[in-house]
């Protein structure tokens, strides 16, 4: 009996001691049914793709590329519309057209935009953190692909943040304050870098991505090797590094992987896009801009002025406008037909081949190589149902005007023309279609929320 008691005591004591060791595991294994722990999501390769998909989907949000960084706010700033821009239709777009970026509504928009962009960046940074921890898990070149895509997207988002929230290099110095370039996930605030530093970091990320991504694996609905090169070209031009801009533009053009359109069956020319974002919400989101809610549009007078006047023509494929409600060529024709039918075009161009031609042409003009510049523009013109220019080499000044007009024509409703104005630091008084006045304190710089 005495022995039995001793045994029981010893067993009980031992149990108490040992059970605490397994306690920790028991506590750590607490299930988390409705949310997915990041250790679970990154436990498989597929999880990294899911997180990247998540970022693409976040980029498709209404205040980002789903609407306002493309057909919405940025296109209003980019002078793609002149119809129904008045306070009664939509105050946000009216203030936008006035370039009144200090307006509380636009400040709110800027804050939302800023938050969502950095939220997407945080998602990328967490992926980049975890990809290093689990490097040995990956098969094939998945590690390179996921990391390259994440870095490229991080650069893409930061570069657009820089172009939105900081002054253009053309309007000041490269040491002017830019934005925080966030490369880690955490609670500490990243300090604001200057323009040059931000662009260098973008270049750094893009060049790493370039080295990681496979040139032959080019799905254009994901950011890819060629889009990275195009982005470098865009970035170098913004930085006014013409040599590199031209180099990367030619690399894309000469790769012959992408060809310019031969017909007008798709006016969004999606096959020319080097990186297009799948935006499923596009339909309803575009509708809120062109449809019954706001009715933004481009008047027929302005259409003629842009597409026909000068070296243009009425048969320019891009001069196809439809009635936003029916999509047909009767009724008011002010919605670019490339968006019709609304929602059917799920990939939205984020960077296009034609921009490479324009960048190369612009660099050529600056190198006083008018012949090359004209040839480059002509190569696009023939694929837009236009005749070549009457001269084989236009004069430098008229080339500059032509390139500016091309940005407006080509990127109608895509938001890129705003970045063109900003890069060129075009005075507000000389913005096209000045039926809409600008406010006295008009600026190209969005108000940072922090």
């Amino acid at each position: 009996m005495q022995v039995l008691r001793m045994k029981i005591i010893a067993a009980a004591g031992l149990f108490l001691l040992l059970s605490t060791g397994s306690c920790k595991k028991w506590i750590n294994d607490t299930p988390e049914p409705l949310q997915v722990d990041d250790s679970i999501i990154f436990a498989k390769e597929q999880g990294f793709r899911e997180v990247l998909n998540g970022v693409y989907l976040q980029m498709g949000a209404k205040s980002l590329y789903g609407r306002d960084l493309t057909v919405g706010v940025l296109s209003v700033l980019g002078r793609s519309y002149d119809l129904n821009v008045n306070p009664s239709s939509d105050n946000l777009y009216n203030q936008t057209a006035l370039y009144n970026l200090q307006d509380p509504g636009l400040k709110n928009y800027a804050s939302d935009l800023w938050t969502k962009m950095y939220q997407a960046i945080a998602n990328l940074n967490n992926l980049l953190l975890n990809i290093e921890k689990r490097k040995e898990m990956f098969t094939g070149n998945n590690y390179q692909t996921f990391k390259g895509e994440a870095l490229a997207l991080r650069a893409y988002l930061h570069f657009d943040l820089l172009r939105l929230f900081a002054a253009a290099p053309a309007s000041g110095t490269l040491t002017a304050p830019g934005i925080p370039y966030v490369t880690t996930i955490g609670t500490s605030q990243t300090p604001v870098s200057n323009l040059d530093q931000v662009m260098e970091q973008c270049i750094g990320d893009l060049k790493t991505a370039e080295s990681l991504l496979n040139p032959s694996e080019a799905s254009t609905v994901q950011i890819n090797y060629w889009a990275v090169k195009a982005l470098l070209s865009r970035l170098y031009l913004y930085k006014n590094d013409q040599e590199n801009a031209q180099k990367y533009a030619y690399e894309v053009i000469n790769s012959k992987r992408f060809i310019l359109a031969k017909n007008n069956t798709d006016l969004l020319f999606i096959k020319e896009s080097l990186f297009g974002l799948l935006v499923q919400q596009n339909g309803p989101l575009h509708k809120t801009v062109f449809g019954e809610q706001v009715n933004l549009g481009f008047s027929s007078v302005a259409q003629t002025e842009l597409y026909v006047a000068g070296s243009g023509s009425t048969v320019d494929w891009r001069k196809s406008f439809v009635d936003p409600l029916t999509g047909f060529a009767n009724g008011p024709l002010y919605m670019p037909k490339k968006f019709f039918p609304l929602g059917a075009k799920s990939a939205f161009p984020m960077i296009r081949l034609t921009e490479m031609y324009y960048i190369a042409a612009e660099c050529a003009v600056n190198n006083r190589d008018s012949l090359t510049a004209t040839t480059l523009l002509d190569s696009v013109r023939v694929h837009r149902n236009l005749q070549k220019y009457s001269l084989s080499a236009l004069k430098g000044d008229s080339l500059k005007v032509e390139i500016g007009k091309e940005y407006l024509k080509e990127f109608m409703g895509e938001g890129q023309s705003f970045f063109y104005f900003k890069r060129k630091n075009i005075p507000f008084a000389s913005l096209p279609f000045t039926r809409i006045p600008v406010v006295g304190n008009a600026t190209y710089v969005f108000v940072k929320p922090e």
Binding site: T20, R49, V51, G54
Partner: protein, 1057 residues
């Protein structure tokens, strides 16, 4: 390092136990004698032992016939005992026992009546210690005492005896039988409105959205200052404790300081309430019956509204009928003056709620086996028509002993069925104009539209809220809960015991909320949306809790040294699930069924799942020297799924006490029965914050994939799944900590007076708040939570009880009781989140009501208001004082100053009991001093009132009318004060709220034993209690906005057979 305190302790006890048991063995247990029972003059040797730990019991009173003796060394010897005699055994703290004498040597076991309620033993739920050797601050109140004061609400009853327990009832929900009070012990341990933090939208994942009412994790997150409630050692939610049959409560112990709560580790920070239920009595069959009749009647004395003529008059004076509205005035004048319509809307939704409660208890057993079966039914009817809460309870207890092993199993079933009044909120009746009649003139039934007017071509209809009662309006909740607790006890040696506890509880709840299509809510739905009217919300949830524990208990005495030790471990897992759907588009008014709906009103169902796990290792060690000096050490080492992984939260306490009355110099001072000094210091924790804050979490897009339109569903769909961050974990999150200090004094004098006094200080720090982050971190929308902010409470507690007169002859006694809690809370550190909250409240808060501000050095319940210099008699404008002392008529949020505190400085109770012969009576009061209140009635119902509806009487006479008048107290009369000149938070509306409430008046009568015997009853008593009889003092404001406060009349009959 991982060697736990108790681990060492176990080894020590293993070493000690054989030695001590050996020592015990040497002693002869009892004199063995074989007596021939045939002889009349026989000797009987009684040996009495404790049923649980088999120790011999001293001082047990044994009565055989006319002989009465006390056991010494566990033995009592009687001589000259007749055959077939019985022995009656009794000892305080044990169940009495009657035993037939059938042989010469009898071994009897007495069972502890759980914890004795006289304070001789303190049970912390994890271990029991003799009261005299306990160094912590704890108080035990017996079930009888509780039931004397209040049989409707356990916590209202407990509050009377324990001033440290603050039970506050929301002024909005009043006496609603389905509303929960908030409870706290010894001041604030968290910031008020912390629940709002949980709902900040930043992390919806960490808290259950529609928790089961039995989900104690969620209920403690929503009311984060609430102490932990344990019922028979098992944690329960406040709602479960309130629904529990009060007549089955044996006692409630309130654990307050560090020494008493440190063993609870992460659960002890807010204090612990232990509810012990009545355990079965031994005997053949004991039957206990309680039957009650309860009447709830609304107390609307605080409501003073205008009658029809006055209302019409004030409208006219305010210029409501200016312009071309004279015809409307004529029409209403006709109603009020000629037709004599003067509806008393205040009474319309009210009634006398007549409910009842029955409780039945059958128990029995012998030394080796006990059982009981209980059943209870409580039908609480509220004072608003159709509001009730019905609970049904069944329980079965079985206990048995086999040699040194004993176990008991307690099964209980509890179900509730509750409904809120179809009349809706009480305030919708208070505001109706008395010149409107709720009844249709022709049919006499409730009409839908009370009146309408046309201003500027727009027709406004005034809806009759009572009309909704004619439809199938539903707001109901029900649940059923099953719980099972198994306790096992193995006596290893005389000094060492091993206990095991395993319990589980499962509760499922359902909520049904239905607004029929013709409900007044949908009155303004346009004709083309006709089929969207009606709303049905259905929520179903469940809660499952498993708990297991094991502990070793040690007790030994070596001469003057006495040692107690306990070490154990507790594991708790809770799982909570919830699903809610919402359906709209109904055509049928009479049928409250989801099936008649058109479609979902929300895109997807709301679902939630939360699992928490908790493992706690604890130990307590008490050393006493000669019963005079005690040292009490406790510690806990906790792991919890909500805090940083692989780190444990450690808690400790050191207590000491000195029984001065045991000292030799006081031995001769007979009038001092007890004089004890005690003190403790230590750290406890809190686990009531959101779950999963320590994890970085993702969610999947459920309505999107990264896929081209028309790409088909094969192959690509799974690959295109998108995940996004929803929470960024703080991997270093710690448990909030409460550092507690306590000094106490217990005195008993002349066997009649007892006094206890406690001084305490508690500092809660490392509270859990979301971080405030820059948007560029990308985490600002789902910030990680951090440990920040701290609060400090200081206070004193006192309790005096005295018997003024006592005469055992005719059972006359008169006693009094006075207790109080003086408490001051102070914010000692602010979290960045709170600073942001302050700023947001200043910028966006609704300034017509109080906006709390948290400032370092001030109470978290401070009232901040702009100082008012009164109303200018000339202009009728309010004049404010700016920070620089200048006066202005412009209200500015930055001019706010401290204008009082919502929490009272001193609160408590006093009362007196009188008993004479078979009669007893008592009257009990509660009081509060030093509290202020923001008189929202003056704001909402006078100055900001909309005269389209009825207003407070004071608006009629006391508003400014002409320049330089003198008889005004409030701002000028206007059709809608909120629109013309809103009154924002001003010191003018801050009033003192010193109150005295008669909590209870009780009369009782117990049938004399001789009479009771005639009906074969052991005892039979009748009792009549009136709760919330009246209230004196306090601000003159409307009390019970959505539901009036209630008086309760209870008539009860209690009999035991």
């Amino acid at each position: 390092m991982k060697l736990k305190v108790f681990g060492l302790f176990t080894l020590v006890s293993i070493y000690l136990s054989p030695q001590t048991s050996f020592a015990q063995k040497q002693k002869p247990k009892s004199a063995k004698k074989i007596v021939d029972t045939a002889y009349q003059n026989q000797e009987v040797i009684l040996s009495v032992k404790d049923m649980d730990n088999l120790t011999l019991l001293d001082s047990v009173r044994a009565v055989i016939g006319i002989q009465s003796k006390y056991t010494y060394g566990g033995i009592a010897i009687f001589e000259n005992i007749g055959k077939d005699s019985v022995v009656l055994l009794s000892k305080p703290g044990y169940y009495g026992l009657v035993k037939k004498l059938d042989k010469g040597t009898i071994s009897v076991f007495l069972q502890k009546s759980t914890i004795p309620t006289d304070g001789s033993v303190v049970s912390t739920g994890l271990y029991n210690r003799p009261g005299t050797l306990f160094s912590g601050a704890a108080v035990t109140v017996s079930g009888e005492d509780l039931r004397k004061v209040n049989v409707n609400n356990l916590f209202d009853a407990l509050k009377y005896y324990v001033p440290a327990l603050v039970v506050s009832r929301d002024n909005r929900n009043g006496g609603n039988p389905n509303a929960l009070p908030t409870i706290s012990l010894r001041g604030a341990s968290t910031f008020p409105y912390a629940a709002a933090v949980s709902f900040s939208g930043t992390s919806k994942s960490g808290v259950q959205q529609n928790p089961s009412s039995g989900d104690f994790v969620a209920s403690n997150i929503f009311s984060a200052g609430s102490p932990v409630i344990l019922m028979d050692g098992n944690q329960v939610s406040l709602q479960t404790a309130l629904d529990f049959d009060i007549s089955r409560v044996h006692s409630v112990t309130v654990l307050k300081d560090a020494s008493a709560t440190a063993s609870y580790g992460m659960r002890g920070g807010n204090g612990v309430l232990l509810i012990q239920t009545i355990k079965p009595q031994r005997g053949l069959l004991n039957v206990g019956i309680t039957s009650e009749l309860q009447i709830a009647s609304a107390d609307i004395s605080s409501y003073k509204v205008l009658n029809a003529k006055e209302k019409l008059d004030i409208e006219n004076r305010a210029g409501l009928y200016a312009g071309n509205l004279n015809s409307l005035y004529e029409q209403r004048y006709n109603q009020a003056h000629h037709k004599g319509v003067n509806t008393n809307w205040l009474e319309l939704p009210l009634r006398k709620g007549i409910g009842m409660r029955h409780s039945l208890n059958l128990s029995g057993g012998n030394d080796d086996m006990v059982y009981n079966v209980t059943a209870g039914y409580n039908d609480k009817q509220g004072s608003m028509k159709g509001s009730y809460r019905k609970t049904t309870e069944l329980g079965a207890y079985f206990g048995a002993r086999f040699k040194s092993f004993s176990f008991n199993n307690q099964f209980s079933y509890l179900s509730a069925n509750a409904e809120n009044s179809a009349y809706g909120s009480y305030n919708t009746y208070v505001k109706q104009n008395p010149y409107w009649s709720p009844y249709d003139a022709e049919t006499g039934k409730f009409q839908k539209i009370l009146g309408s007017d046309t201003v500027g071509g727009v027709i406004s209809n005034y809806m009759n809220p009572a009309y909704n009662t004619t439809l199938a309006t539903t707001d109901a909740a029900k649940y059923s809960r099953i719980a099972n607790v198994t306790n096992m006890n193995l006596v290893l040696t005389n000094n060492l015991q091993l206990n095991g506890i395993a319990s589980l509880s499962n509760q499922s709840d359902e909520f049904d909320y239905f607004l029929p299509p013709n409900h007044t809510t949908f009155a303004n739905v346009p004709i083309d949306s006709l089929f969207t009217r009606g709303l049905y919300k259905y929520t179903s949830n469940s809660f499952f809790n498993v708990e297991a524990g094991l502990r070793l208990q040690y007790h030994n005495k070596f001469g003057l040294h006495e040692v107690f030790g306990t070490a154990g471990q507790t594991f708790i897992q809770t799982s909570s699930e919830s699903t809610g759907i919402s359906v709209s588009g109904f055509n049928v008014d009479r049928l409250a069924d989801m099936a008649f709906g058109n479609g979902y009103s929300t895109l997807k169902p709301a679902a939630g799942k939360i699992v928490t796990r908790y493992a706690s290792s604890y130990a307590n060690f008490v050393y006493s020297y000669a019963g005079r000096y005690q040292l009490d050490l406790s510690g806990a080492n906790d792991l919890h799924s909500a805090i940083a992984q692989n780190t444990s939260a450690k808690f400790w306490a050191v207590g000491a006490s000195w029984n001065v009355h045991e000292e030799s110099f006081l031995q001769d001072t007979k009038w001092i029965n007890r004089l004890k000094l005690r003190g403790s210091i230590g750290q406890t924790g809190n686990q009531y914050f959101l779950s999963y804050l320590n994890r970085t979490t993702y969610n999947y897009y459920t309505n999107l994939q990264y896929i081209a339109l028309g790409a088909g569903t094969t192959g690509t769909l799974g690959r295109a799944l998108g995940a996004y961050l929803t929470g960024y974990g703080n991997s270093k999150l710690q448990s909030p900590q409460t550092f507690k200090q306590n000094i106490g004094l217990d005195i008993s004098l002349f066997n009649r007076w007892s006094l206890s006094f406690d001084l305490y200080q508690q500092k809660t720090s490392k509270l859990v708040f979301p971080e405030v982050l820059a948007a560029s971190t990308g985490l600002s929308k789902f910030p990680p939570y951090q440990n920040a902010g701290s609060l400090e409470d200081r206070g004193a507690e006192f309790n005096v009880m005295g018997v003024l007169y006592k005469s055992p002859g005719n059972n006359l006694s008169w006693s009094i009781n006075l207790n109080g809690l003086w408490n001051k809370d102070k914010v000692t550190e602010l979290a960045p989140y709170l600073l942001a909250l302050n700023a947001e409240r200043d910028a966006k808060g609704d300034q017509t009501r109080l906006q709390s501000q948290y400032l370092k050095g001030y109470s978290p319940t401070s009232i901040w208001a702009v100082p008012s210099l009164g109303i200018d008699p000339v202009s009728g404008k309010e004049i404010f004082m700016k920070k620089d002392g200048s006066s202005t008529t412009i209200w500015d949020v930055n001019d706010k100053v401290l204008a009082g505190d919502l929490s009272p400085a001193l609160q408590g109770s006093f009362g007196t009991d009188l008993s004479f012969k078979q009669f007893s009576a008592g009257i009990y009061f509660s009081y509060q001093l030093g509290a202020s209140v923001y008189n929202q009635t003056l704001v909402d119902r006078i100055e900001n009132a909309d005269l389209l509806y009825n207003v407070d009487r004071r608006a009629y006479q006391q508003r400014w009318t002409q320049p330089n008048g003198t008889d005004f107290l409030y701002k000028p009369l206007s059709p809608n004060g909120l629109l013309s000149d809103p009154t924002y938070v001003t010191t003018r509306m801050v009033e003192k709220d010193n109150r005295l409430q008669c909590a209870s008046i009780m009369f009782g009568y117990a049938l004399p034993k001789t009479l009771a015997k005639r009906i074969n009853a052991k005892n039979l008593s009748l009792k009549c209690i009136l709760n919330n009889a009246f209230e004196l003092g306090g601000a003159e404001m409307e009390r019970g906005i959505y539901y009036p406060f209630q008086r309760y009349y209870t008539f009860s009959l209690n009999a035991n057979f």
